[in-house]
Subunit: 210 residues, 2 copies
């Protein structure tokens, strides 16, 4: 498949990059992935269309750059920095994943709907798949690290941190997908309860037998 390509002939200056990414984000949420065009993105961009085309040749370049940008700016990083207690931090990750950031200034569900379209189409495209995998790896690594800290601190049972992080990721992901695709608006809330019942309770329970 096509490489991420020659956008790096200069690399836009930071404020232009930021403006392009915001335009791409808005267009992606509004149009979804499949029908999104360079023109849609250009229409969201305040500056000149030729500036956009100078830095990015294709829709694919822009979407991959957007996924990289969202990873760089990922709000989960702030969660790490703010909370010392691993148990509280893990709960915050789960809540953020299910309900979005508290200061949700964007439409979380439109974004996830567009992202699902990209995921459904992108698996035959190396550039999309690699970046999507990097984004999943980033968040599950943070969660696994939190679980590992909790185990070391003696507040969590000795489980496999990576497997548990992926299991939590998947539960959150599928609840969002049911909400988006089937209109199950209670899915995030009910999944939060199930994560408490099955995962968090188990993590907190010391093994008495051996």
């Amino acid at each position: 498949m096509v490489e991420t390509s020659p956008s790096d002939r200069t690399g836009p200056p930071p404020e232009t990059h930021e403006a392009i990414m915001r335009a791409t984000y808005r267009a992606f949420c509004a149009h979804g992935f499949a029908e999104l065009t360079m023109r849609d993105i250009a229409e969201e961009f305040e500056k000149s269309r030729s500036l956009l085309h100078y830095h990015y040749e294709t829709k694919q370049d822009l979407i991959v750059a957007l996924l990289e940008y969202l990873l760089e700016e990922h709000p989960a990083k702030a969660t790490i920095a703010d909370i010392d207690d691993p148990e509280t931090r893990l709960e915050r990750f789960v809540d953020r994943g299910l309900f979005g950031p508290e200061d949700a200034a964007f439409d979380l569900w439109e974004f996830h709907a567009a992202l699902l379209e990209l995921r459904a189409h992108g698996h035959r495209n190396d550039a999309y798949r690699e970046q999507l995998d990097r984004n999943v790896g980033f968040i599950t690594d943070l969660v696994a690290e939190t679980i590992r800290e909790g185990i070391e601190a003696g507040c969590f049972r000795d489980v496999d941190p990576e497997a548990t992080a992926l299991f939590l990721h998947d539960a959150i992901d599928a609840a969002r997908i049911r909400k988006i695709t089937l209109g199950h608006d209670d899915a995030p809330r009910r999944t939060r309860e199930a994560i408490e019942t099955y995962v968090l309770s188990t993590l907190r329970t010391p093994v008495t037998e051996s």
Copy 2:
């Protein structure tokens, strides 16, 4: 959105229906949802193209009929009929969901990839969404019923059967999606382990306190 429409002016005879559904299934797996055309389906159909068009006017009619057909023929029904013990039956549901039926005579993963495309696109289309929701409801009802039987038989803890069934559905669904979209081929196996650690262990453990 468009209703399931006038295909029921006669309803094809059973063997024709079966042949049309098999052709639709093969074309859906081979082409995915978004790019699938009536022509692709007609090419998989051994009989005359006009016969296909006589019974089904649009791709949407055919896809909705396929989802109904798969529900009618759902292999999970056989699981119910065969296994008395609720715990064994629940494990069988989980294994089937993650790894496919033992006699997998079709390409499970191509089907799930096409289905994911449909789900990502179909959420704005009432006919697709309703049928997809019915299919999820069918399998989660069977699983919830199994959990309820297990609680009554005293082999499972007194949990919420529906919430637990949805949680298991979601874990299985997301593992399949990671395998399809990110190439995480170990996702079903690792999810099976996590379901054992977190869900099945919890279900089997009687609450000792309170």
